[in-house]
Protein backbone atom coordinates (compact mmCIF):
# COMPACT_ATOMS: atom_id res chain seq x y z
CA UNK A 1 0.00 0.00 0.00
CA UNK A 2 1.40 3.39 -0.97
CA UNK A 3 1.53 5.92 1.83
CA UNK A 4 -1.12 8.62 1.72
CA UNK A 5 1.32 11.47 1.21
CA UNK A 6 2.95 9.91 -1.83
CA UNK A 7 -0.41 9.83 -3.54
CA UNK A 8 -0.89 11.44 -6.91
CA UNK A 9 -3.58 14.05 -6.39
CA UNK A 10 -6.30 13.71 -9.02
CA UNK A 11 -7.45 16.71 -11.01
CA UNK A 12 -11.00 17.99 -10.36
CA UNK A 13 -12.18 16.58 -13.66
CA UNK A 14 -10.34 13.25 -13.44
CA UNK A 15 -12.15 10.41 -15.21
CA UNK A 16 -13.34 7.75 -12.79
CA UNK A 17 -14.22 4.12 -13.26
CA UNK A 18 -15.35 1.32 -11.02
CA UNK A 19 -14.82 -2.39 -10.85
CA UNK A 20 -17.13 -4.56 -8.78
CA UNK A 21 -15.81 -7.46 -6.73
CA UNK A 22 -18.78 -9.73 -6.05
CA UNK A 23 -19.29 -13.19 -4.65
CA UNK A 24 -20.85 -14.90 -1.69
CA UNK A 25 -20.32 -14.36 1.99
CA UNK A 26 -16.72 -14.57 3.17
CA UNK A 27 -15.07 -15.49 -0.14
CA UNK A 28 -12.36 -12.86 0.26
CA UNK A 29 -13.83 -9.77 -1.45
CA UNK A 30 -12.52 -7.25 1.06
CA UNK A 31 -9.16 -9.00 1.12
CA UNK A 32 -8.94 -8.73 -2.67
CA UNK A 33 -9.78 -5.01 -2.64
CA UNK A 34 -7.20 -4.38 0.09
CA UNK A 35 -4.47 -6.14 -1.88
CA UNK A 36 -4.43 -3.58 -4.69
CA UNK A 37 -5.93 -0.48 -3.11
CA UNK A 38 -3.69 2.47 -2.23
CA UNK A 39 -5.84 3.09 0.85
CA UNK A 40 -7.04 0.62 3.47
CA UNK A 41 -10.54 -0.28 2.27
CA UNK A 42 -13.09 2.26 3.42
CA UNK A 43 -16.55 1.30 4.50
CA UNK A 44 -19.71 3.17 3.85
CA UNK A 45 -23.40 2.56 4.19
CA UNK A 46 -26.47 2.90 2.10
CA UNK A 47 -29.97 3.08 3.50
CA UNK A 48 -32.41 0.53 2.25
CA UNK A 49 -36.13 0.59 2.67
CA UNK A 50 -37.98 -2.72 2.63
CA UNK A 51 -40.53 -1.38 0.20
CA UNK A 52 -37.47 -0.38 -1.74
CA UNK A 53 -37.90 2.36 -4.21
CA UNK A 54 -34.19 1.79 -4.71
CA UNK A 55 -31.12 2.59 -2.73
CA UNK A 56 -30.99 6.20 -3.85
CA UNK A 57 -34.10 7.06 -2.00
CA UNK A 58 -34.60 8.19 1.55
CA UNK A 59 -38.36 7.91 1.31
CA UNK A 60 -39.82 5.74 4.03
CA UNK A 61 -36.86 6.32 6.27
CA UNK A 62 -39.06 7.22 9.21
CA UNK A 63 -40.71 3.84 9.10
CA UNK A 64 -39.40 0.75 10.77
CA UNK A 65 -38.66 -0.83 7.42
CA UNK A 66 -35.29 0.86 6.99
CA UNK A 67 -32.03 -0.98 7.20
CA UNK A 68 -28.50 -0.14 6.24
CA UNK A 69 -26.21 -2.12 4.04
CA UNK A 70 -22.46 -1.70 4.14
CA UNK A 71 -20.11 -1.81 1.19
CA UNK A 72 -16.40 -1.38 1.15
CA UNK A 73 -14.20 0.08 -1.47
CA UNK A 74 -10.62 0.83 -2.36
CA UNK A 75 -8.94 3.24 -4.72
CA UNK A 76 -6.28 3.07 -7.42
CA UNK A 77 -5.10 6.44 -8.72
CA UNK A 78 -3.89 5.59 -12.21
CA UNK A 79 -2.79 9.14 -12.97
CA UNK A 80 -3.82 12.73 -12.28
CA UNK A 81 -6.53 12.22 -14.86
CA UNK A 82 -7.82 8.79 -13.95
CA UNK A 83 -8.96 7.05 -10.76
CA UNK A 84 -10.41 3.56 -10.47
CA UNK A 85 -12.52 2.44 -7.51
CA UNK A 86 -12.96 -1.19 -6.50
CA UNK A 87 -16.18 -2.05 -4.72
CA UNK A 88 -16.71 -5.10 -2.56
CA UNK A 89 -20.42 -5.88 -2.71
CA UNK A 90 -22.38 -7.08 0.29
CA UNK A 91 -22.15 -10.84 0.38
CA UNK A 92 -25.75 -11.60 1.27
CA UNK A 93 -27.99 -12.42 -1.65
CA UNK A 94 -30.84 -10.42 -0.23
CA UNK A 95 -28.87 -7.29 -1.03
CA UNK A 96 -28.90 -7.97 -4.76
CA UNK A 97 -30.47 -4.55 -5.43
CA UNK A 98 -27.31 -2.99 -4.08
CA UNK A 99 -25.40 -4.74 -6.86
CA UNK A 100 -27.65 -3.00 -9.37
CA UNK A 101 -26.60 0.40 -8.13
CA UNK A 102 -22.97 -0.57 -7.87
CA UNK A 103 -22.71 -2.17 -11.27
CA UNK A 104 -24.40 0.63 -13.20
CA UNK A 105 -21.62 2.12 -15.32
CA UNK A 106 -19.03 -0.34 -13.98
CA UNK A 107 -16.17 -1.38 -16.24
CA UNK A 108 -16.77 -4.99 -15.28
CA UNK A 109 -16.89 -7.40 -12.39
CA UNK A 110 -14.84 -10.04 -10.67
CA UNK A 111 -16.91 -12.89 -9.27
CA UNK A 112 -14.80 -14.32 -6.49
CA UNK A 113 -15.48 -17.90 -5.51
CA UNK A 114 -14.32 -20.27 -2.83
CA UNK A 115 -13.96 -23.66 -4.53
CA UNK A 116 -15.19 -25.42 -1.37
CA UNK A 117 -18.40 -23.39 -1.37
CA UNK A 118 -19.23 -22.64 -4.99
CA UNK A 119 -22.92 -22.29 -4.24
CA UNK A 120 -22.50 -19.02 -2.33
CA UNK A 121 -21.35 -17.34 -5.55
CA UNK A 122 -24.08 -18.69 -7.88
CA UNK A 123 -26.19 -15.54 -7.42
CA UNK A 124 -23.31 -13.29 -8.45
CA UNK A 125 -22.70 -15.27 -11.65
CA UNK A 126 -26.42 -15.10 -12.50
CA UNK A 127 -26.53 -11.40 -11.81
CA UNK A 128 -23.73 -10.36 -14.17
CA UNK A 129 -24.64 -12.89 -16.83
CA UNK A 130 -28.25 -11.67 -17.01
CA UNK A 131 -27.28 -8.02 -17.14
CA UNK A 132 -24.63 -8.58 -19.78
CA UNK A 133 -21.90 -7.06 -17.62
CA UNK A 134 -18.51 -8.51 -18.54
CA UNK A 135 -17.06 -10.56 -15.70
CA UNK A 136 -14.31 -13.01 -14.86
CA UNK A 137 -14.38 -15.73 -12.24
CA UNK A 138 -11.49 -15.79 -9.79
CA UNK A 139 -11.10 -18.84 -7.58
CA UNK A 140 -9.62 -17.81 -4.25
CA UNK A 141 -7.20 -20.55 -3.21
CA UNK A 142 -7.45 -20.31 0.54
CA UNK A 143 -4.14 -21.52 2.01
CA UNK A 144 -2.80 -22.27 -1.45
CA UNK A 145 -5.07 -25.27 -1.75
CA UNK A 146 -6.49 -26.03 -5.10
CA UNK A 147 -9.48 -28.22 -4.44
CA UNK A 148 -10.75 -28.37 -7.99
CA UNK A 149 -9.55 -27.69 -11.52
CA UNK A 150 -10.53 -24.47 -13.23
CA UNK A 151 -12.46 -26.29 -15.96
CA UNK A 152 -14.39 -28.27 -13.35
CA UNK A 153 -15.32 -25.06 -11.57
CA UNK A 154 -16.41 -23.44 -14.84
CA UNK A 155 -18.65 -26.43 -15.53
CA UNK A 156 -20.08 -26.47 -12.02
CA UNK A 157 -20.86 -22.76 -12.24
CA UNK A 158 -22.35 -23.26 -15.70
CA UNK A 159 -20.40 -20.26 -16.98
CA UNK A 160 -21.16 -18.76 -20.37
CA UNK A 161 -18.55 -19.94 -22.90
CA UNK A 162 -15.53 -17.64 -23.01
CA UNK A 163 -15.82 -16.45 -19.42
CA UNK A 164 -12.22 -16.19 -18.20
CA UNK A 165 -11.69 -18.28 -15.08
CA UNK A 166 -8.49 -18.26 -13.09
CA UNK A 167 -7.03 -19.24 -9.76
CA UNK A 168 -5.89 -16.49 -7.44
CA UNK A 169 -4.71 -15.62 -3.97
CA UNK A 170 -6.80 -12.69 -2.78
CA UNK A 171 -4.07 -11.72 -0.32
CA UNK A 172 -1.41 -11.39 -2.99
CA UNK A 173 -1.07 -8.12 -4.88
CA UNK A 174 0.47 -9.62 -8.03
CA UNK A 175 -2.21 -12.29 -8.14
CA UNK A 176 -4.99 -9.72 -7.81
CA UNK A 177 -3.35 -7.53 -10.46
CA UNK A 178 -3.47 -10.52 -12.79
CA UNK A 179 -7.19 -10.99 -12.06
CA UNK A 180 -7.91 -7.32 -12.81
CA UNK A 181 -5.82 -7.39 -16.00
CA UNK A 182 -7.65 -10.52 -17.14
CA UNK A 183 -10.95 -8.75 -16.53
CA UNK A 184 -9.88 -5.56 -18.33
CA UNK A 185 -8.63 -7.50 -21.37
CA UNK A 186 -11.95 -9.34 -21.42
CA UNK A 187 -13.82 -6.01 -21.27
CA UNK A 188 -11.57 -4.57 -23.98
CA UNK A 189 -12.29 -7.56 -26.18
CA UNK A 190 -16.03 -7.07 -25.69
CA UNK A 191 -15.65 -3.35 -26.46
CA UNK A 192 -13.84 -3.96 -29.73
CA UNK A 193 -15.89 -6.98 -30.83
Amino acid sequence: MASADSRTVPSPDAATGKIVVAGGFGVGKTTMVASVSEIAPLRTEELITATSAGVDDLAGIEGKSTTTVAMDFGRITISRDMVVYLFGTPGQNRFWFMWDDLSRGALGAVVLVDARRLDVSFAAVDFFEHRGIPFVVAVNCFDGRQVARVDEIATALDLPPGTPTLLCDARDRESVKEVLLTLLHHVLKAATA
Partner: protein, 123 residues
Protein backbone atom coordinates in the same frame (compact mmCIF):
# COMPACT_ATOMS: atom_id res chain seq x y z
CA UNK B 1 -36.93 13.32 18.11
CA UNK B 2 -33.51 14.59 19.01
CA UNK B 3 -31.85 17.05 16.72
CA UNK B 4 -28.58 15.94 15.16
CA UNK B 5 -26.65 18.62 17.01
CA UNK B 6 -27.83 17.42 20.40
CA UNK B 7 -25.84 14.26 20.62
CA UNK B 8 -22.45 13.01 19.61
CA UNK B 9 -23.80 10.35 17.35
CA UNK B 10 -21.08 7.95 16.43
CA UNK B 11 -21.90 6.79 12.97
CA UNK B 12 -19.27 4.05 13.12
CA UNK B 13 -21.48 2.35 15.66
CA UNK B 14 -24.60 2.86 13.63
CA UNK B 15 -27.16 5.14 15.11
CA UNK B 16 -30.69 6.38 15.21
CA UNK B 17 -32.12 6.55 11.74
CA UNK B 18 -33.71 9.90 12.52
CA UNK B 19 -30.41 11.71 12.31
CA UNK B 20 -29.75 11.45 8.59
CA UNK B 21 -33.34 12.44 7.98
CA UNK B 22 -32.91 15.53 10.17
CA UNK B 23 -29.60 16.33 8.49
CA UNK B 24 -31.31 16.58 5.15
CA UNK B 25 -34.14 18.61 6.70
CA UNK B 26 -36.64 16.03 5.64
CA UNK B 27 -35.58 15.81 2.02
CA UNK B 28 -35.35 12.34 0.55
CA UNK B 29 -33.74 12.99 -2.82
CA UNK B 30 -30.82 15.17 -3.93
CA UNK B 31 -31.49 18.44 -5.74
CA UNK B 32 -29.39 17.07 -8.59
CA UNK B 33 -29.75 13.73 -10.34
CA UNK B 34 -26.17 13.56 -11.58
CA UNK B 35 -24.40 12.93 -8.27
CA UNK B 36 -23.04 9.42 -8.57
CA UNK B 37 -21.05 7.14 -6.31
CA UNK B 38 -17.82 7.88 -8.16
CA UNK B 39 -18.49 11.46 -9.22
CA UNK B 40 -15.46 13.57 -8.34
CA UNK B 41 -16.16 16.45 -5.96
CA UNK B 42 -13.85 19.43 -5.59
CA UNK B 43 -14.22 22.58 -3.52
CA UNK B 44 -14.16 25.72 -5.63
CA UNK B 45 -14.58 28.39 -2.95
CA UNK B 46 -15.29 28.79 0.72
CA UNK B 47 -18.76 29.72 1.92
CA UNK B 48 -19.57 33.34 2.68
CA UNK B 49 -20.43 34.43 6.19
CA UNK B 50 -24.16 34.31 5.52
CA UNK B 51 -24.27 30.88 3.88
CA UNK B 52 -25.90 28.54 6.35
CA UNK B 53 -24.40 25.09 6.19
CA UNK B 54 -24.39 22.01 8.35
CA UNK B 55 -21.11 21.04 10.06
CA UNK B 56 -21.03 17.94 7.82
CA UNK B 57 -21.13 20.16 4.76
CA UNK B 58 -18.22 22.22 6.08
CA UNK B 59 -16.29 18.98 6.63
CA UNK B 60 -17.06 17.92 3.06
CA UNK B 61 -15.76 21.27 1.80
CA UNK B 62 -12.54 20.83 3.77
CA UNK B 63 -12.11 17.26 2.50
CA UNK B 64 -12.78 18.12 -1.15
CA UNK B 65 -10.00 20.68 -1.35
CA UNK B 66 -8.36 17.52 -2.63
CA UNK B 67 -10.73 16.18 -5.31
CA UNK B 68 -12.60 13.29 -3.69
CA UNK B 69 -15.25 10.86 -4.94
CA UNK B 70 -18.75 10.99 -3.44
CA UNK B 71 -18.42 7.53 -1.89
CA UNK B 72 -15.21 8.59 -0.17
CA UNK B 73 -16.87 11.70 1.22
CA UNK B 74 -19.61 9.44 2.60
CA UNK B 75 -17.05 7.13 4.21
CA UNK B 76 -15.21 10.03 5.84
CA UNK B 77 -18.39 11.65 7.12
CA UNK B 78 -19.67 8.23 8.24
CA UNK B 79 -23.05 8.98 6.69
CA UNK B 80 -25.13 6.93 4.25
CA UNK B 81 -24.39 7.70 0.60
CA UNK B 82 -27.93 8.92 -0.13
CA UNK B 83 -27.69 11.48 2.67
CA UNK B 84 -24.32 12.70 1.44
CA UNK B 85 -25.71 13.15 -2.07
CA UNK B 86 -28.36 15.49 -0.66
CA UNK B 87 -25.81 17.47 1.34
CA UNK B 88 -23.54 17.75 -1.70
CA UNK B 89 -26.52 18.86 -3.81
CA UNK B 90 -26.85 21.90 -1.52
CA UNK B 91 -23.17 22.70 -1.94
CA UNK B 92 -23.60 22.51 -5.70
CA UNK B 93 -26.59 24.81 -5.53
CA UNK B 94 -24.44 27.28 -3.59
CA UNK B 95 -21.71 26.85 -6.22
CA UNK B 96 -19.22 25.90 -3.52
CA UNK B 97 -18.15 22.65 -5.20
CA UNK B 98 -17.63 21.40 -8.72
CA UNK B 99 -18.81 17.95 -9.74
CA UNK B 100 -17.31 15.76 -12.42
CA UNK B 101 -19.42 12.71 -13.14
CA UNK B 102 -18.16 9.48 -14.71
CA UNK B 103 -18.57 8.80 -18.38
CA UNK B 104 -21.35 6.23 -18.67
CA UNK B 105 -19.63 4.64 -21.65
CA UNK B 106 -16.25 4.10 -19.95
CA UNK B 107 -16.66 0.31 -20.29
CA UNK B 108 -16.62 0.60 -24.07
CA UNK B 109 -14.01 3.34 -24.29
CA UNK B 110 -10.93 1.59 -25.65
CA UNK B 111 -8.53 4.39 -24.73
CA UNK B 112 -9.86 4.54 -21.18
CA UNK B 113 -9.60 0.76 -20.78
CA UNK B 114 -6.08 0.68 -22.20
CA UNK B 115 -4.98 3.43 -19.79
CA UNK B 116 -6.42 1.48 -16.84
CA UNK B 117 -4.61 -1.66 -18.02
CA UNK B 118 -1.31 0.22 -18.29
CA UNK B 119 -1.85 1.78 -14.86
CA UNK B 120 -2.57 -1.52 -13.15
CA UNK B 121 0.48 -3.12 -14.78
CA UNK B 122 2.62 -0.38 -13.27
CA UNK B 123 1.32 -0.94 -9.73
Amino acid sequence: MRHWSEDSWDAQQGGPIVRPYALTQGRTTPSRPDIELISMVSTVRLPGRTTRLQPEQLRALALCRTPTAVVEVAAHLALPVCVVKILLGDLLDHELIALSSPDASAATDVRFLQAVIDGIRRL
